[in-house]
Amino acid sequence: MIEIKDLVKRFGTVQALDGLGFQAKDGDVTGLIGPNGAGKTTAFRIVYGLMVADSGSAWVDGVDVAQDRMAAQRNLGVLPDVRGLYPRLTAREHIRYFGELHGSSGAELEADIDELIERLGMQDFADRRAKGFSRGQELKVALGRALVHRPHNLILDEPTNGLDVMSSRAVRDLIVEMKNEGHCILISSHIMSEVSVLCDRLVIAAAGRLIAQGTPDELRDQADAQDLEEVFVRLLMKAGALQGAAA
């Protein structure tokens, strides 16, 4: 389970997070959605230990990230928005590197890598160097890297950003599969149709604050609208956050 409590983070004069808090439960796909500048990426970065909050806290399976970053990271698999591959390493070497950094080694690690390569459909390019990979191939490598240590919790930042239809569908299938295995999955996406299909719970944030949260149906009731995009817009307007969001 991932839990964030009253996160506050300021960069100079910019208030990136202003008391944001929510929970992402095991066996659920929780979607963190919001306009640009809502603080989604900053919140994620605090959860996976890249940034330290000015106040508030982030917890992964009961571990306070600020207190024990490495313990929290062991239970966390992350797909950041920027995939950031090493152009001179092969797909397999990427996955092996991160598996080793998480403490795996030997035959067990190699078996896990083979399984991931098959599961993510990477057989064709597993032993090719990453330079020149398509966005779909990059995403699969980044996913393999995030999953190699079998994390219980997953954070996926814009998981289908820039992917073609087939690759997007494959990623969505994987998310559902992992949810059914009981993983806690926290995603951020701008694609409302995807959010609508995938997410059990939604957290809407704007200007670093929580605007609304609940199941898609609960939010539809709150906004008195059926289309999730319309729900999103109405809730932001209701909270007076749309002006800032548009800017």
Partner: protein, 394 residues
């Protein structure tokens, strides 16, 4: 292996594997270090070839005017391998040609010399040019021999001893000059070796820090449970390994090429033995650590690869400049001078090249002070490496 060491090794091994596949890193480590030795050894080889050739046996062409007025002198010059060629007709032209370096020297015999034993000749020269200097010296030497011959003939004709008119004869025995030419070239090695030490790991240092940040690869790496100082230490270790390879290639090339160049001329002294060069590598180890620490600290505080490349491109010049000064103005190593980080190693390497015995106490002082400075710089770099700005794009 403890967890910490294991993670250190994993990151180190990845960086080595990654950069062993990188053409730029390999060129910097394996090709660049050959260029300095090739250049210096070529200079030494050419100096050796000059020494090999007996300059006096080679014909020297001297443009001359009015030599028909002094046929005995003309015959004497010819007998001493000086060939006379026509010179420009006017004084202005002659001066101009010599000034511009198109003629090495011009001999002018006045019309009044005809039929006389005593006369004055003009030798137009430009002593600002080395080739003119050499031609002028040789011409002056041959004319001096002519004078001596005349004086001897006159003395004998007068019933006097042949050397009556020349009280002191000078016989030049040049033993030191040729050896010093080689030593001068050997003294150029320390600053160039130090230059390469500060260049060897540069690409890896930039690419694995600010380069990874620029490509967005540093953020995913930070998601793995690895201590940040371990990460920087492992990357520094990889840069150190590349620096060590660069230094090994560079120092070996210096010994190999210099040995070949010195072997081309008997008069040149041979470079110091291979063992001296092994000692240079050992003495350079603390220098490599401070070079990498400086590279890493600059790489982690710069905002982009371009910015880092500018600063790190200049970095090798900083320690190499005092080294160049030492070529012309040697400083004797003392406990105090060797305690200056980097400078201490320069002095010790200079001593090794001069085949002097090192004082173990000074080696210890130099090594400890440079290692201490390197540790301090690394700690600062590790501190900067923890900044949030370091990892986050945008």
């Amino acid at each position: 292996m403890t967890g910490c060491l294991r993670r250190l090794w994993i990151v180190f091994a990845k960086e080595i594997r990654d950069h062993a596949r990188d053409r730029r890193s390999l060129t910097l480590a394996l090709i660049y270090p050959l260029l300095g030795p090739l250049l210096v050894a070529s200079g030494l080889y050419m100096a050796g070839q000059t020494l090999n050739t007996n300059y006096r046996e080679r014909p020297l062409e001297v443009p001359a005017v009015g030599l028909e007025n002094a046929p005995a002198l003309a015959a004497h010059l010819l007998a001493h391998n000086i060939q006379i060629i026509p010179a420009p007709g006017t004084e202005e032209e002659r001066n101009g040609e010599v000034r511009e370096g198109r003629l090495p020297v011009v001999l002018v015999v006045p019309a009044e010399a005809k039929g006389l034993d005593n006369f004055t000749v003009d030798v137009i020269t430009n002593l600002g040019r080395a080739d003119n200097l050499r031609a002028t010296a040789r011409l002056a030497e041959v004319i001096a021999i002519y004078n001596e011959n005349i004086a001897r003939a006159r003395a004998l004709a007068a019933g006097l001893p042949g050397d009556y008119a020349s009280s002191i004869k000078m016989h030049k025995i040049n033993v030191a000059r040729d050896a010093n030419i080689a030593v001068f070239f050997y003294n150029m090695m320390p600053p160039l070796i130090i230059f390469m030490i500060f260049l060897g790991g540069v690409h890896l240092a930039i690419d694995s820090t600010v380069g990874e940040r620029e490509r967005g690869a540093l953020e995913p790496l930070l998601l793995a449970p690895v201590e940040r100082w371990v990460l920087l230490l492992a990357k520094s270790g990889a840069a150190l390994a590349f620096t060590a390879v660069t230094t090994l290639v560079n120092v070996s090339a210096f010994r190999g090429f210099m040995g070949l160049a010195a072997g081309s001329a008997e008069q040149l002294t041979q470079p110091p033995s291979w063992w001296v060069f092994v000692a240079i590598i050992v003495i350079s180890l603390p220098l490599m650590t401070i070079a990498v620490a400086l590279q890493m600290s600059i790489a982690v505080i710069t905002k982009s690869m371009k910015e880092a490349q500018i600063y790190l491109g200049l970095l090798p010049l900083v320690p190499a400049l005092p080294g160049m000064v030492l070529v012309f103005q040697p400083v004797n190593p003392t406990d105090l001078t060797v305690a200056v980080p980097v400078f201490g190693q320069m002095l010790l390497i200079g001593q090794l090249v001069a085949e002097q015995t090192l004082d173990p106490r000074q080696v210890a002082i130099a090594s400890l002070s440079t290692l201490a400075a390197a540790s301090l710089i690394f700690l600062l770099a590790a501190r900067w490496f923890r900044r949030e700005k370091m990892f986050v794009l945008g």
